[in-house]
């Protein structure tokens, strides 16, 4: 397949087309996509996938711009997959991430792709996982995955990335109570942004709130410690510490096999999901062809048969097909 070679060579247009393919909702494209991904899985790169999440207004994109700039200056290749919300009414979307990633979007060592959420929450059904495989094969050192809101933390952390980081703003310590459990479980790194100007002392206080919160977390011996970091995206300070922490966590987790286990688990999830999707799709088709649902519903309405008996009959019917 020519596309695979072009991706491996890092051709920008080929990578972009491939991502379009894995994101497509067309049945034909899905088949093509599976073929492509299975070939790419044989050509793994060495990228680290890092997830970024956080409530709106904490400067997520600004942080990514700032941290990204730091990385490309160090000659790393950086891929960014950003998920933007689609309108629930019109289905359309405005993808504005790049207005906040001005410098890195110009840099030849970056690849930045925005994806409309199309009603999906975690980014999985959008082909984000497949997109990260494409960027991995294309030789990107780091792949950032940015999602909207904190609600998707769990899906992202468990299904998509090697390291999951939560970006928060000064003064967010109070909200901590409410989301503590999810956070302590899923985030590997807490990044307190806006450690600058008037907000400095507030940021420090927030950082210590988070530190004490994660200290309650029962640490399993073979997993890397969770870290709380103070940064200023605007002043580009604290970035060295972020990359150091990421590299440390990767190193430690690789040593104790946790890194590979996490990826293996993600594969299991993936397989399960694909299987589920395929079955669901075929069953939907069967239901459509079969027509017994409407037939039995009528019988239920007419009082000829009990509802639950009807359901059992329909399921039996479908299973025998």
């Amino acid at each position: 397949m020519q596309l695979v070679e072009k991706i491996v060579k890092g051709e920008r247009a080929a990578i972009a087309k491939a991502i379009t393919l894995v994101e497509s909702s067309k049945e034909n494209d899905k088949k093509e996509s599976r073929k492509l991904i299975s070939e790419l899985l044989n050509k793994p790169g060495k990228s680290i996938r890092i997830g970024f999440s956080g409530p709106p207004g904490v400067g997520k994109s600004t942080f990514i711009e700032s941290f990204g700039r730091y990385l490309v200056e160090k000659n790393y290749k950086l891929g960014i997959l950003a998920i933007d919300p689609s309108s629930q009414i019109t289905g359309g979307s405005i993808l504005g991430d790049k207005t906040r990633m001005i410098e890195i979007s110009k840099n030849p060592n970056t690849f930045i792709r925005s994806t409309p959420s199309r009603g999906s929450l975690g980014g999985i059904s959008l082909g984000t996982r497949e997109a990260s495989i494409i960027l991995d094969a294309a030789g990107y050192d780091f792949i950032f995955i940015e999602t909207v809101g904190v609600g998707q933390s769990e899906t992202m952390a468990t299904n998509l990335v090697d390291i999951f980081s939560l970006i928060v703003g000064p003064g967010s310590g109070d909200e901590l109570q409410g989301i503590k459990k999810g956070i302590t479980e899923y985030a590997d790194i807490f990044i307190v942004n806006k450690n600058d100007g008037d907000l400095k002392s507030e940021a420090s206080k927030t950082a210590s709130d988070y530190k004490s919160a994660i200290s309650y977390y029962k640490k399993s011996s073979d997993v890397a410690d969770k870290e709380v970091l103070l940064v200023s995206a605007i002043e580009q300070t604290g970035m060295e510490k972020v990359i150091e922490t990421i590299q440390n966590i990767v190193l430690q987790n690789k040593k104790n096999k946790n890194f590979d286990e996490r990826r293996a688990k993600q594969f299991t999830y993936w397989i399960e999901e694909e299987v589920r999707e395929i079955i669901q799709f075929s069953i939907q088709n069967k239901i459509k062809e079969d027509g017994s649902i409407s037939k039995f519903s009528q019988k239920v309405m007419d009082g000829e048969i009990q509802m639950f008996d009807a359901i059992e009959a329909i399921t039996q019917n479908l299973q025998n097909k």
Binding site: K26, T90, G92, S93, I94, T99, R100, P108, I112
Partner: protein, 718 residues
């Protein structure tokens, strides 16, 4: 309310309802400002007004009726036409010609690189040099600009906000080298940075240091240049960007309050600088509303300044320049613009402006020609000399409608001013992006009204001209201008004392670090022949360059089209497209070069998204290369280039080249929208542009064209 129930009124109401077959309570018209205009006004409407004093006379507080007692009966308003053409030489010729034909003041338009603090030889500004105004790189250009124009006699207004320091410095030095001391220089520098963050985007530094520069200039001029207006607080660009009159009025005055505070923080006494603050408003086609706006502006400013503790009467009087609305001009049937401009000019005069610029009818398409500029100027000369409008001061005073409207506008604006104050003033509000978003929302609503036909624009969405007239426009050879400027820069750099330049720039940087006044240091650097770009870059080392994050409204456009057939048709096409292609049509909307007018781009983005497109928004000030990378990485179906500053002839071919360079097989559809003279259409089509949408294009129709173009391209490839 007594009068309302009078016998006469009841009788009138009956007649009205019989004639119109409409219940009177349903008969009001809604304005953009959310004001209900009633079919009739009576004495009752001007009783118990909140801001307006019915007994006041012109030149008396609260100055609703005008800043002066005699107004135009003594001296008519100043005809002040804003112009700037590519090079200093050309502009100078133009100014001299105009002064001979009866114009009294000069108003300089600069090109975008100058606004943004870049020299003409900077790679970033390739397509922008000499477009939409004159390029000033050094004081030598400024000297040419005013060659044979005695600066001690001519009042000069300069539209400059970003690079205020080097440009004002160049003006001062040009005066000095004409043997005119700075204390004799008269005129105005716009120096209104806050509105740049809201609408025009020709800022350089972040809001806080930008405010410091504003305050420095107010401080310096109040001490050293007593005849010079240190700031022109401008609502003009807000209305141009789509703000309704209440927003324009409120945000402009709120900006004014912020500048007053900035100057006070320098330790100045309010009465030392406040008399030199001036204002600048847009005058659109809503005839009575515009008159009321100017009257309300004076009324509110009086209140504001009194609250600040001003004692000098002059501090409390709002003096303003006005310009007829550029956004009301249409590309279609362009001679209609002469008529629009005439009514707008009359509005400004009845509102009591101190000076006026009337737009040329071809300005929706290009910079004015000598001929169109003459017609524009004559519009004012006819008003002054033939109509008799100068014989009576504030002739509409006492009109139930005008007085009531003035008061209502004042009330509505005051609410918004209080809202901004509660956010901690305009600098904070601007940082939070509140005003920008409000203006964009208002702009989108206005566009939707025109596109849906609920607002008539003659020659555009109704009464179209079956035979569009061909209009000759001014053509600029941008590459030649740039080459000439580069040569001049190189000559100056070769002949100047480099050591003196370096030292004065180092002093400027030091002054910025220790927070002392920057204008004096900047004047020294410019005197030593440092360039505008060098001065700006020196400060950039300390302050950084500002990049605005951009928020977008959504759903505002679509709301006006619920049930609209054309709209639903496009939305349906989008859904079919998605089924066929596995994703929605995806369009990247971009601005390239230094043109920061992003209203059009924003409206197109939000309305396309409302119709179901996936719309990528590029940042401002992108190079064609950046746009190509962005477009290809996101695998968009189409790129829409918004261009309002004449950069398209350089930037669009550059974009096409960059696309091919990254992807030789690129199938991306490229379309262009904005201000594009018809003469350039063929050139753009030859460069494989698929569609061109001029000002006044209907967005729904444009969206349909775009989706059809995309579908065609996909089918051709299969």
């Amino acid at each position: 309310m007594k009068t309302k129930n009078s016998e006469k009124y009841t009788k009138w109401q009956k007649s009205f309802e019989r004639e119109t077959k409409i219940d009177l309570s349903e008969a009001s018209s809604d304005t953009d400002e959310g004001i209900k205009i009633k079919p009739v006004y009576t004495k009752a409407d001007i009783e118990n007004l909140s801001f307006v004093d019915n007994d006041s006379l012109p030149g008396q507080l609260p100055y609703t009726r005008g800043p002066k007692a005699s107004m135009y009966t003594n001296r008519p308003w100043t005809i002040r036409q804003y112009a700037g053409f590519s090079t200093a030489e050309e502009s100078n010729e133009f100014y001299k010609k105009n002064l001979k034909s009866g114009q009294k003041g000069l108003s300089v338009a600069f090109d975008l690189p100058t606004h943004r603090g870049y020299d003409s030889d900077d790679d970033l500004v390739m397509g922008d040099v000499g477009k939409a105004g004159v390029a000033i790189d050094t004081v030598e250009d400024m000297k040419i600009l005013f060659n044979d124009i005695p600066l001690d006699q001519m009042s000069v207004s300069m539209t400059m906000n970003g690079a205020v320091l080097p440009v004002l410095s160049s003006f001062v030095v040009a005066g000095e080298e004409q043997n005119v001391n700075k204390n004799l220089l008269s005129g105005t520098i716009q120096n209104d940075i806050l509105k740049e963050f809201m609408v025009r985007n020709t800022y350089i530094y972040p809001p806080d240091p930008s405010m410091k520069i504003v305050a420095d200039i107010i401080e310096f001029t109040s001490k050293e240049m007593p005849k010079f207006n240190s700031i022109s607080i401008s609502g003009y660009h807000m209305q141009e960007a789509g703000a309704d009159n209440v927003l324009e009025l409120a945000y402009t005055l709120a900006d004014g309050m912020e500048y007053v505070r900035a100057a006070l923080s320098k330790g100045l006494d309010i009465d030392d600088f406040a008399p030199r603050l001036s204002f600048f408003f847009a005058i659109g086609t809503d005839f009575f509303m515009e008159i009321a706006k100017l009257r309300a502006a004076r009324t509110l400013w009086y209140k504001i300044m009194k609250d600040f503790g001003a004692k000098n009467e002059k501090s409390m009087i709002l003096r303003t320049h006005c310009q007829t609305s550029g956004v009301s001009l249409t590309e279609k049937d362009p001679y209609n613009n002469i008529i629009r401009t005439s009514y707008e000019a009359l509005s400004a005069i009845l509102g009591g402006t101190q000076s006026l610029h009337t737009n040329s009818f071809d300005e929706a398409i290009a910079l004015p020609t000598d001929e169109s500029a003459r017609i524009a100027r004559n519009t004012q000369l006819i008003l002054q000399n033939e109509t008799g409008v100068t014989n009576t001061v504030d002739p509409l005073a006492g009109s139930y409608f005008i007085e009531s409207l003035t008061d209502e506008l004042s009330k509505k604006a005051w609410e918004i001013i209080e809202e901004i104050e509660s956010l901690g003033g305009m600098t904070k509000a601007v940082k939070a992006g509140v005003p920008k978003l409000k203006i964009e929302e208002s702009a989108t609503k206005k566009q939707a009204k025109v596109d849906s036909g609920s607002r008539v624009v003659v020659g555009v969405n109704k009464f179209k001209n079956p035979k569009e007239p061909k209009v000759d426009v001014r053509v600029i050879d941008n590459n030649k201008v740039r080459d000439d400027q580069i040569k001049k820069i190189n000559d100056i750099k070769a002949s100047r004392n480099q050591k003196a330049v370096d030292e004065s720039l180092a002093k400027l940087v030091a002054a910025a670090k220790e927070d002392s006044n920057l204008l004096a240091c900047s004047i020294d650097a410019i005197k030593n022949r440092a360039t505008v770009g060098e001065v700006s870059k020196a400060l950039e080392q300390v302050y950084g360059r500002h990049f605005a994050t951009s928020l977008s409204v959504s759903g505002v456009y679509g709301k006006h089209f619920e049930g609209d057939e054309d709209y639903m048709n496009v939305a349906k096409k989008v859904n079919i497209f998605e089924e066929e292609n596995g994703r929605r049509p995806r369009v990247l909307i971009v601005k390239m070069g230094q043109d920061g007018h992003d209203r059009g781009a924003k409206i197109v983005a939000t309305s396309f998204a409302d119709m179901g497109f996936d719309v990528d928004m590029g940042p401002l000030f992108q190079s064609p290369k950046d746009v190509a990378k962005d477009a290809i990485e996101n695998d968009v179906h189409a790129i829409g280039v918004s261009t309002l500053a004449a950069g398209h002839k350089t930037l669009v071919p550059e974009l096409m080249k960059s696309l091919k360079k990254i992807d030789p097989n690129s199938k991306i559809v490229v379309f262009v929208g904005g201000v594009i003279p018809e003469q350039d259409y063929d050139f753009l089509y030859e460069n494989n542009i698929s569609a061109i949408f001029g000002p006044g294009s209907n967005i729904i129709e444009s969206a349909e064209t775009v989706i059809d173009l995309i579908s065609d391209k996909i089918h051709k490839n299969n």
